[in-house]
């Protein structure tokens, strides 16, 4: 019996979305971590999702995190000669984190997480009711 397949599928979504929330937290936490070197400054991270491999022919598929990639957008250059980390020209480099984008990502991840929790709850209720048949 594959009654618990729903739990596997929704569980994979929960772990994927919580990883997405983690990257959002990391990006927001480091949004102001400036550096004097544009190559060493923090870069925004984001997870890449894909449907679980090996399930192409089948109707059901969980979600898998392929990996976490770094945004290739350019670091924000700011002229702050008084900053202790400023380079010889007086510039500091702020991470390429777009705070608005991260907030949107956070809401989207949180809604998707809630949706999967609801799926699990319903499946659990039905499974319990099936166990209690005839009682």
């Amino acid at each position: 019996m594959s009654t618990f397949k729903i739990f596997d599928i929704a569980g994979s979504a929960l772990s994927a979305q919580s990883l997405r929330l983690n990257t959002v937290a990391s990006n927001l936490a480091n949004a102001d971590a400036v550096s004097g070197d544009p190559t060493k400054v923090y870069k925004a991270r984001m997870p890449v999702f894909r449907a679980e491999p090996g399930t192409e022919g089948s109707a059901t598929a969980g979600v898998q995190v392929l990996g976490v990639v770094e945004s290739q957008a350019e670091a924000q250059k700011r002229y702050e000669p008084g900053h202790p980390l400023a380079d010889a020209q007086g510039y500091v480099y702020a991470p390429n984190v777009n705070t608005v984008e991260e907030m949107v990502n956070m809401i989207s991840a949180s809604r998707a997480y809630q949706g999967s929790v609801e799926v699990m709850n319903t499946a659990k209720d039905l499974a319990l009711r099936t166990l209690n048949l005839g009682k």
């Binding site: 979504a13 109707a59 979600v63 319903t122």
Partner: protein, 140 residues
């Protein structure tokens, strides 16, 4: 076995179908943010047609479950992998997105709730049947 089957009618098969449909819908919700993922659903009409065909030709229906012992009971009224594959349809995207994902979470959640309700309805029917059976056995 067959006596109990006739007692419960279509409901065991209905439970099986709704469970499979809920798995498909759960996959859609899980992959709501996966680029290129195409939302799927199970078409009840197609499953019904398949089941009617299998009922007309019982040998074909049992081909998927191998009986390796004379005491084995053949599977009846179930939905085989082949049937599920034939009944799988792709959803037409109401709001297509740039990344090729066709999941509309609201639609999927509504379909999931509907499927869960059908599941509960079938379960209630089975429950009532079991209770009347208990009444017949215990006499009170």
């Amino acid at each position: 076995m067959s006596g109990l089957d006739s007692l419960f009618g279509v409901h065991p098969a209905a439970l099986e179908f709704q469970r499979q449909r809920m798995e498909v819908l759960a996959s859609n919700i899980a992959n709501a943010d996966t680029p290129g993922y195409q939302a799927k659903d199970l078409d009840f009409n197609k499953v019904l047609q398949q089941a009617a065909q299998n009922a007309a030709a019982p040998a074909a229906a049992n081909a998927s479950s191998a009986l390796t012992h004379p005491a084995h009971i053949p599977l009846e009224g179930g939905i085989s992998q082949d049937m599920q594959k034939a009944a799988t349809v792709y959803r037409v995207a109401t709001q297509p997105s740039v990344d090729g994902n066709t999941v509309d979470v609201q639609t999927e959640q509504a379909a999931y709730a509907e499927s869960a309700l059908h599941y509960q309805a079938s379960m209630s029917f089975i429950d009532y049947r079991l209770k009347s059976l208990m009444t017949a056995i215990t006499g009170n």
